[in-house]
């Protein structure tokens, strides 16, 4: 059985630059795999290590996702193959377009029984693409999964946290699961795995390779701006620690918050 883990490679949100006019830029941001996606990759690799089969990592985006550092990072974390669907029309793709592309790519892969997603992408965090892919494939689809075990009868036992309830479910295969960041701690790649990563296969597919003749956008992005910030006093206290602390306590008392 092959396990596909879908990953989104995005500009690192921590590198976001906000201009004085409230404009937002990712021009200088480093591109990397989303931090919510790495636990999904780890969960897939652990299942494959325990039960056999291989993990195929899958991502879609513009040519900016096809960077050797990113490829190596994914492959050194235990994925055996990496499939990148690259097309510049995927710039600013919304969930509907991305889900279509991932669905077609998964259909082209053979013997896939399980597809894993993280809880949301690092840049958008809409938490939609995974569940949309599941519906497009027509497979059983669940989000908020925090534990997955493979049962002997080719089904899964899944634990799910839904608001204030823990659910234990039997899930028939094939299935699409969106896992939480709590599912497991992503590994740090060993030197051996890092060396092995460069020998692993990376497939670069175009949209026409997966039978898509052009994408129609589902959303127009009209404007991106920094969120409004509360106006703050910005008063830096000075003096010795005791003086600063006593000034702070006085101010807080004056503000009526103590």
């Amino acid at each position: 059985m092959n396990i596909v883990v879908c990953l989104k490679i995005t500009p690192d949100p921590e590198d976001l630059e906000i201009g004085p006019d409230g404009s937002v830029s990712t021009t200088h941001a480093e591109w990397k795999t989303g931090s919510f996606d790495l636990p999904a990759l780890e969960a897939g690799v652990r299942l494959a290590e325990m039960h056999g089969g291989k993990v195929i990592a899958l991502s879609a985006g513009t040519s900016q996702i096809n960077q050797s550092k990113v490829r190596k990072d994914i492959l050194s974390r235990g994925a055996e193959e990496l499939v990148l669907v690259v097309d510049d029309s995927l710039k600013d793709a919304s969930t509907a377009e991305t889900a279509l592309v991932l669905e077609k790519a998964i259909r082209k892969l053979t013997d896939v029984q399980l597809v894993l997603f993280g809880e949301g992408s690092a840049d958008l965090y809409f938490q939609q693409t995974g569940v949309q892919v599941g519906e497009r494939l027509g497979w059983v689809t669940l989000n908020a999964v925090q534990d997955v075990r493979l049962l002997e009868n080719e089904a899964l036992e899944v634990q799910r946290i839904v608001e204030h309830e823990l659910q234990v479910l039997d899930v028939p295969l094939p299935a699409v699961l969106c896992v939480t960041s709590d599912i497991c701690e992503p590994r740090l790649a060993s030197m051996r795995e890092i060396l092995r990563a460069s020998k692993k296969t990376v497939f670069e597919w175009s949209l026409s390779d997966i039978g898509i003749e052009g994408l129609t956008p589902s959303v127009e992005i009209v404007k991106v701006m920094a969120p409004p910030r509360a106006s703050r006093k910005g008063e830096m206290l000075s003096g010795s620690v005791e003086e600063m602390v006593s000034a702070l306590v006085n101010n807080l008392r004056k503000d009526g918050v103590l």
């Binding site: 569940v131 946290i161 839904v162 701006m225 509360a230 918050v257």
Partner: protein
């Protein structure tokens, strides 16, 4: 005559329904629209939806015991085909996000999640929501019809106006899905130890706290302030020092406290988005360049381990 807009709302969480109705009323743009809702439950659920402006209440008594709320999808899908809504408005719960995605995929249409504002310009609907972990907001226009959207708590409730209208109640039968997960067991999780959204005062340790055992000093400070303890995401998810429900920021808690005290918090936007609504923000950090100072009312640049005991003393002697 102009065709009336059809708006269809669903949430299994009855406390979200007024938010959805508020959003639906904005979506109607003051023009006559037909507002339908699917409700799970008995007469009390129906009563709560009367006189809210809803025209039709589709009522499903109860779900089979080994089914998930999400298994209502087939029933919802059947009603969607019948009603042909222009807008499907879903409560942004875990189940709601799953249902939203499945509806959008099956309709091959636009999904818009966690909407903060709804407006209209000459070309139609525009919505605003957060991207980049709260670091930015995006104004988006859906390009496909119908539009499926999710709405969370605290966004549109104030827009829901009372109405004299009495809704027609239509019982519906449960349509089971073809294949599904079987619910074997459900356990109530222990009640969350803290509701940060309701806390009056909050102290929040960040990466400036060197060791886990130093949290006892943070606890002492919290006690002398009468504050709840929150944290930044790395302390909870990375280090596991504090439970998940205590981290502030994107995908975590949003506080409305009178006082927030950041202890060695650097002030990444992913965190500070959660303290926007705090009344007074205090930042204590050794690094004068830490971005948190730009968003603080009072800043102290000093060693946390000197400030904390001094502050505890000052509060005690006060």
């Amino acid at each position: 005559m102009e065709i009336q807009r059809q708006i269809f709302i669903f949430s299994e969480d009855i406390t979200l329904v007024r938010e959805l109705i508020g959003a639906a009323q904005v979506l109607a743009e003051g023009k006559p629209a037909i507002l339908s809702a699917l409700v799970i439950g008995g007469s009390t659920s129906v009563e709560q939806m009367q006189n809210t402006g809803v025209d039709r209440i589709y009522r499903l008594d109860t779900l089979p015991p080994d089914c998930l709320v999400e298994d209502i999808f087939q029933t919802l899908w059947g009603l969607t085909r019948e009603i042909k809504p222009d807008y499907l408005v879903i409560g942004a719960t875990t189940a709601g996000r799953l249902i939203c995605g499945r509806l959008a995929a099956r309709l091959n249409t636009t999904a818009l999640t966690d909407i903060q504002t709804i407006e209209f310009d000459a070309q139609g609907l525009l919505i605003r929501h957060m991207v980049f972990g709260g670091g930015a907001q995006r104004l988006e226009r859906p390009l496909r019809q119908p539009v499926v959207m999710t709405i969370g708590k605290g966004q549109f409730e104030s827009q829901a106006a009372r109405s004299e209208k009495v809704a027609e109640v239509i019982p519906v039968a449960f349509t089971p899905p073809e294949t599904r997960a079987i619910l074997r067991e459900r356990r109530e999780l222990p009640p969350v130890s803290v509701n940060l959204a309701e806390a009056k005062r909050v102290v929040c340790p960040g990466r400036g706290i060197a060791r886990r055992e130093d949290l006892t000093m943070v606890e002492e400070l919290a006690r002398s302030l009468g504050a709840e303890i929150a944290c930044t995401r790395p302390l909870s998810e990375g280090l596991g020092w504090l439970p998940r429900e205590r981290y502030i920021g994107i995908s975590g808690a949003y506080i409305k406290a009178d006082l927030y005290v950041g202890l060695g918090v650097s002030g990444q936007v992913q965190h500070t988005i959660g303290i926007t609504d705090a009344r007074v923000v205090v930042a204590i950090n050794r690094d004068a360049e830490a971005p948190i100072f730009k968003q603080a009312d009072y800043g102290i640049v000093a060693d946390l381990y000197e400030v904390m005991p001094a502050l505890i003393d000052a509060l005690r002697s006060a």
